[in-house]
C-alpha cells in the first residue's frame, strides 16, 4: 500500500509542495498510519480490534493537531489532551462496555465482505490522492497527505456505516467519519475557532453516549444488535 502512496505522491504538482520539509515528514508519517488504520478497520471482523483501531486513530490525530498548529500554546494542548481523553479513552471504554453487555464479538455477514471492502477502501484512497492534486487551494496545506487522508477516512466511515449491520460498528463508522472531518479541519485551524472544534467533540461524545444506551436497550428488547431488525419498528 505504501508503494501506492509513493507513486501517487510523485505525481503531485510542485505548486502544492510549499510546506517546510521537516514539518512534512513529521506530519506525513502519522497520516500514513491513519490511512493504514483505515484499511485495517475495513478488513477486520473482530469488534475489539475495530474499537482499538478507532481509538488509536483518534490519539494520532490529536497529536497531529499539536504538530500542525504553528503556536502550540496552552489552549491547543488543552484541546489535544481533551481529544485524546474523549476519543482515546472514554468513547472506547463505553463501546467496550457495550460490547461486553451485548456479548458479541464479531461482525458477521456484512453487506460487502471484508476483503472487498478493503479493496474498495484502497481504491478510494488512491482516487482521493489523485483527486486532491486537482483541488484548487487558496493556501498550501502543511502536508500533501492531509486532503487524501481526510477523504479516505470519510470514505472509510461511510463504508462502515453502509455495509455493516451491527449497531456498534455503525457507531464506530460515525466516529471515523468525524475523524475524517477532523483531519480536514486541521487545514483550517487558523480559520475555525476552537469553540467549534470543542462543540463537535461534545456532540460526538453525547451522540455516542446516547447510542451506547440505545444499544443496551435494543439488545434487551430484540436480543440482537442487528439494525435490520429495527425496521420492525416502522410505522
Amino acid at each position: 500500500m505504501t508503494g501506492l502512496f509513493r507513486c501517487s505522491l510523485g505525481s503531485i504538482p510542485a505548486g502544492i509542495h510549499a510546506a517546510p520539509g521537516a514539518m512534512h515528514g513529521l506530519v506525513n508519517s502519522p497520516l500514513g498510519l491513519v490511512l493504514l488504520l483505515n484499511l485495517f478497520m475495513l478488513g477486520v471482523s473482530r469488534m475489539r480490534s475495530l474499537i482499538f483501531a478507532a481509538a488509536a486513530q483518534g490519539i494520532i490525530l490529536s497529536g497531529l493537531l499539536m504538530v500542525i498548529e504553528p503556536q502550540c500554546d496552552g489552549l491547543v494542548i488543552c484541546i489535544a489532551l481533551l481529544t485524546v481523553l474523549i476519543k482515546g479513552v472514554v468513547i472506547p471504554r463505553m463501546l467496550l462496555k457495550a460490547l461486553r453487555d451485548a456479548k458479541i464479538k464479531r461482525e458477521v455477514e456484512p453487506l460487502i465482505g471484508f476483503l472487498p471492502s478493503m479493496l474498495l477502501g484502497a481504491t478510494g484512497t488512491a482516487a482521493a490522492i489523485v483527486f486532491a492534486t486537482n483541488l484548487p487551494m487558496t493556501v498550501s496545506p502543511p502536508s500533501t497527505l492531509i486532503i487524501p487522508a481526510s477523504f479516505s477516512t470519510i470514505l472509510t466511515g461511510f463504508l462502515l456505516l453502509t455495509t455493516r449491520y451491527k449497531a456498534i460498528t455503525q457507531v464506530i463508522g460515525y466516529l471515523i467519519l468525524e475523524n475524517g472531518i477532523y483531519i480536514f479541519g486541521l487545514l483550517l485551524v487558523a480559520a475555525v475557532p476552537f469553540l467549534v472544534e470543542l462543540g463537535i467533540l461534545l456532540d460526538l461524545f453525547v451522540g455516542i453516549f446516547v447510542v451506547s444506551i440505545i444499544i443496551h436497550h435494543i439488545n434487551e428488547t430484540f436480543s440482537s444488535l442487528d439494525t435490520r431488525r429495527l425496521t420492525a419498528l416502522k410505522e
Binding site: 486537482n134 483541488l135 461511510f158 456505516l161 453502509t162 449491520y165 455503525q170 463508522g173 435490520r228 429495527l230
Partner: protein
C-alpha cells in the same frame, strides 16, 4: 442622526417581546394581556416617533450595519420613504388590533389560546417591520420567515377546529412555496450584485435571462403573499378562519408586505421590458374583477371581505404595473400616477379593510355565525357598528368623499392620461384597464350593499339575534380611529402626495433629475376641496335625516311583501337571492350552483336558495392536482422506505457525485 433607526429597532424589539411575559402568566387572568397591550402600544409609539423624526429630517434615507456571526454580509437595516410608507400601517394596525383584542379575544374567555395568539401577534408584527427595514438579503429572508411562520400560528389560533387546521395547512404550503421562490430570487440577486446588500439599482439590462428569472421568481414569491390571482388560494380560508383582528392584521398589513417586495423588485431595474408591466397589469385586472365577482357571491361575510382584499390588491398591482410600463416607455407622469396611486390605495386599504374586519368581528362576537343568510336587522341592535362599518364599506367602494376614491382616481388618471398620449404599446394594455376598474367599482358597491343590506337592514331572520348588541369601547375605539382615518386621508391628499412623490422618486432614481417630476400631475388640491364638500354635505344630510326622523314616530314593520297578508321575515332579499343573477352568469367560474326548486301549482311550495361559492382554483384545480402529484411521488416510496444504512449510502453517493462534478469543473 441615526435616531430613526435606533428607535425603529427598539420598537421592533419591544414588539417581539410584547407577548412574551404573558406566556409566563396565568391563563385565566388578564394581566398578561394588559402587559402585551402596553408593550405593543409602546412599540407603536416608538415606531411612530421614529417615523416623525424621519419626516422631520426631510425623509433622508439612512442605513446602518453591524457585523454578525452569520456568514453572508452584515446585519443591515435602513429606512427610506418606501420603508416608512409600509411601516406606518404595520404600527397602526398592530396597535389598534391589540386594543381590539382586549374585548374581542379576552384572555379570561380564551385561556387555551389567548397567550399564543398575543405572542405570535407581536412576533409577526416585528417580523413585518424587520422585513421592510432589512437591507441584507439574508436578514430579509429571516424576517420574512419569522413573519410567515408566525402568521401560520395566528391562523391556527383555534386549532381544535378542523376547518381552521385545513386553512392553516394550505397557508403553510403556500408560504413555503413562496419562500423557495424568494430564496432562489435572492441567490440570483446576489449573483448580479456580488453581495447580499439590498435594493440596489442593477447595472445589467433587464432583458437578460437572469433579470427575467428574478422578476418571475419575485412575482410568484411576493405575489403569493400579496394574494393576487391566481396565487390567492390560501387567502380566503386563512382570512375567514383566523380571529377577526388577526384577519385585520393579515389583510391590512401582511398583504402589503407582498406588495412591498414587488415594488422593490420593480425598482431594481432601470428599464424593464414592457411585458413585465403587462404581465402584472393582466394579473392585477384579473384579481380585481374576478376577486370582486367571487366576493359578491360569498355567503360568509368574512370570506367576502377576504375576496375583496384580493380585489384591492389587484388594484394596487394595476398601479404598480402602470408604473413599470411608465418606466419601460420613459413616461415619468405615468410612473408618478401609477405608483403613487398604488401606494395610496394600499395605505387606504390598510385603513378600511381592518375597519371592516373588526366590524365583521363584532358581528361574529355577538352572533357566532359567519353566514349572511342567518343575519338581518342588526341595525337596531348594533347602530354604532353599523355606522362604522358603513363608513368602511363606502370607503372601500371608492365612493367620493372618502379616501378610497382618491387612490383609484389617480389610477384612472394614469390610464386615461396614457391612452390620450397615444403610445401604442401601452394603449393596447391600458384601454381595457379603465372599464375593468369601473366594473370592479360597481361590483364592490353591489357586494357591500349586499352585506349591509342583508346583515344590518331588513328584519332579523332568527331569534338568536335578540341578544346582539354593540361591542364595548375597546372594540369601538379602534374602529372609530380607523373610520376617522378614512375621512382624514381623503381631506389631506396634498400632504400625502408629497410623500408619494418622494417615494416614487426614491423608487425610480432616474426621475430625480427629470424636471417637473416633483409634482403629482393631478389636481390634488381641487380633489381635497371636493372631498371636503362631499363629506360635509353627507354629514349634514345625516343630521337632517336624524332631525326629521326624531319628530315622527315610526312603527317597525316587515318589509312590504307583494301584498301578502301575513308577511314573515323570510319575505325579504337574502344574500343568495341578491347575488343570484351574477352567480348564474358566472356559474362556469364557481362550482357552487345557486339552486331553486321550480314552483308548480297554485300554492307556493317550500323552496330554498343557497349558494356557497367555493374557490374554483383550489377545489377543482390545486387539490386534485396535488392528489395526482402524490400518486406520482408514490413511485419514489421504495427509495424512501429503507434502513439507515441505505440513507447513509445515498449521502455517500451524493457526496461522490459532487466531488466528481467538482473534479470535472476544475
Amino acid at each position: 442622526m441615526n435616531i430613526t433607526i435606533y428607535l425603529l429597532l427598539a420598537s421592533t424589539a419591544c414588539m417581539t417581546l410584547s407577548g412574551l411575559p404573558g406566556l409566563l402568566l396565568s391563563r385565566r387572568r388578564m394581566a398578561g394581556q394588559w402587559i402585551a397591550l402596553a408593550l405593543n402600544l409602546l412599540a407603536s409609539a416608538a415606531g411612530m416617533a421614529a417615523l416623525l423624526t424621519f419626516a422631520g429630517n426631510g425623509c433622508q434615507s439612512d442605513l446602518m450595519t453591524w457585523g454578525w456571526a452569520l456568514p453572508w454580509g452584515r446585519f443591515a437595516v435602513g429606512v427610506d420613504v418606501i420603508t416608512g410608507m409600509f411601516l406606518l400601517p404595520i404600527l397602526v394596525v398592530s396597535a389598534l388590533g391589540a386594543v381590539y383584542g382586549l374585548g374581542y379575544w379576552k384572555q379570561a374567555q380564551h385561556p387555551g389560546n389567548g397567550r399564543k395568539l398575543r405572542f405570535f401577534w407581536g412576533l409577526m408584527s416585528a417580523g413585518m417591520m424587520l422585513t421592510t427595514m432589512a437591507r441584507n438579503g439574508v436578514l430579509f429572508l429571516m424576517a420574512w420567515e419569522i413573519m410567515a411562520t408566525a402568521a401560520f400560528f395566528l391562523i391556527t389560533t383555534e386549532d381544535q377546529r378542523e376547518d381552521v387546521r385545513a386553512a392553516g395547512w394550505i397557508y403553510l404550503i403556500v408560504a413555503h412555496l413562496g419562500m423557495i421562490c424568494l430564496i432562489a430570487m435572492f441567490v440570483l440577486l446576489r449573483w448580479i450584485d456580488g453581495t447580499f446588500n439590498l435594493w440596489f439599482t442593477a447595472k445589467m439590462p433587464a432583458a437578460s435571462g437572469v433579470a427575467t428569472a428574478i422578476f418571475l421568481l419575485g412575482l410568484v414569491g411576493f405575489g403569493l403573499k400579496a394574494g393576487i390571482m391566481p396565487l390567492h388560494v390560501w387567502l380566503p380560508g386563512a382570512h375567514a378562519n383566523a380571529p377577526s383582528h388577526v384577519s385585520a392584521l393579515f389583510s391590512g398589513v401582511m398583504l402589503n408586505i407582498g406588495i412591498y417586495g414587488l415594488v422593490r423588485i420593480g425598482g431594481i431595474f432601470p428599464a424593464p421590458p414592457i411585458w413585465w408591466g403587462a404581465t402584472l397589469f393582466i394579473m392585477g385586472v384579473g384579481s380585481a374583477v374576478v376577486g370582486m365577482i367571487f366576493a359578491f357571491c360569498q355567503n360568509d361575510y368574512k370570506r367576502l371581505l377576504a375576496y375583496s382584499s384580493i380585489e384591492n390588491m389587484g388594484i394596487v398591482i394595476i398601479g404598480l404595473a402602470l408604473a413599470l410600463i411608465g418606466k419601460s416607455i420613459h413616461r415619468p407622469d405615468l410612473i408618478l400616477l401609477g405608483l403613487g396611486g398604488a401606494l395610496f390605495h394600499m395605505l387606504n386599504h390598510s385603513l378600511f379593510k381592518p375597519l371592516l374586519f373588526m366590524g365583521a368581528g363584532s358581528i361574529l362576537h355577538a352572533i357566532h355565525t359567519r353566514r349572511i343568510d342567518q343575519l338581518g336587522g342588526l341595525a337596531r341592535k348594533m347602530p354604532v357598528t353599523l355606522l362604522l362599518f358603513l363608513i368602511g364599506a363606502m370607503a372601500i367602494c371608492g365612493l367620493p368623499g372618502l379616501n378610497g376614491f382618491v387612490g383609484e382616481w389617480l389610477l384612472y388618471l394614469a390610464m386615461l392620461h396614457t391612452v390620450s398620449m397615444g403610445h401604442m404599446d401601452a394603449v393596447v394594455w391600458l384601454s381595457f384597464g379603465v372599464p375593468a376598474l369601473a366594473v370592479t367599482g360597481a361590483l364592490a358597491v353591489a357586494s357591500f350593499v349586499k352585506v349591509v343590506g342583508t346583515v344590518f337592514l331588513g328584519n332579523q331572520r332568527s331569534s338568536d339575534l335578540d341578544q346582539a348588541h354593540d361591542p364595548g369601547f375597546s372594540s369601538l375605539v379602534p374602529m372609530a380611529i380607523l373610520a376617522l382615518g378614512c375621512m382624514v386621508a381623503a381631506l389631506v391628499p396634498t400632504t400625502i402626495t408629497g410623500m408619494l412623490v418622494r417615494a416614487v422618486q426614491s423608487w425610480n432614481q432616474a426621475m430625480l433629475s427629470v424636471r417637473g417630476s416633483a409634482k403629482m400631475p393631478a389636481p390634488m388640491h381641487d380633489m381635497a376641496i371636493l372631498d371636503a364638500a362631499l363629506l360635509v354635505a353627507g354629514i349634514l344630510m345625516v343630521i337632517a335625516f336624524w332631525l326629521i326622523r326624531r319628530r315622527k314616530t315610526v312603527a317597525p314593520r316587515p318589509t312590504w311583501s307583494c301584498g301578502y297578508a301575513k308577511p314573515t321575515s323570510k319575505m325579504q332579499y337574502s344574500g343568495a337571492s341578491f347575488s343570484r343573477m351574477l352567480a348564474q352568469l358566472f356559474n362556469w367560474m364557481m362550482p357552487g350552483r345557486p339552486f331553486v326548486l321550480p314552483q308548480r301549482g297554485l300554492f307556493l311550495q317550500p323552496t330554498t336558495l343557497t349558494h356557497d361559492a367555493s374557490d374554483t382554483l383550489l377545489d377543482k384545480g390545486l387539490i386534485p392536482g396535488f392528489a395526482l402529484l402524490r400518486r406520482l411521488f408514490l413511485w419514489f416510496r421504495p427509495l424512501q422506505n429503507k434502513p439507515v444504512n441505505i440513507y447513509v449510502a445515498y449521502m455517500l453517493a451524493i457526496l461522490l457525485l459532487l466531488l466528481l462534478a467538482l473534479r470535472f469543473q476544475v
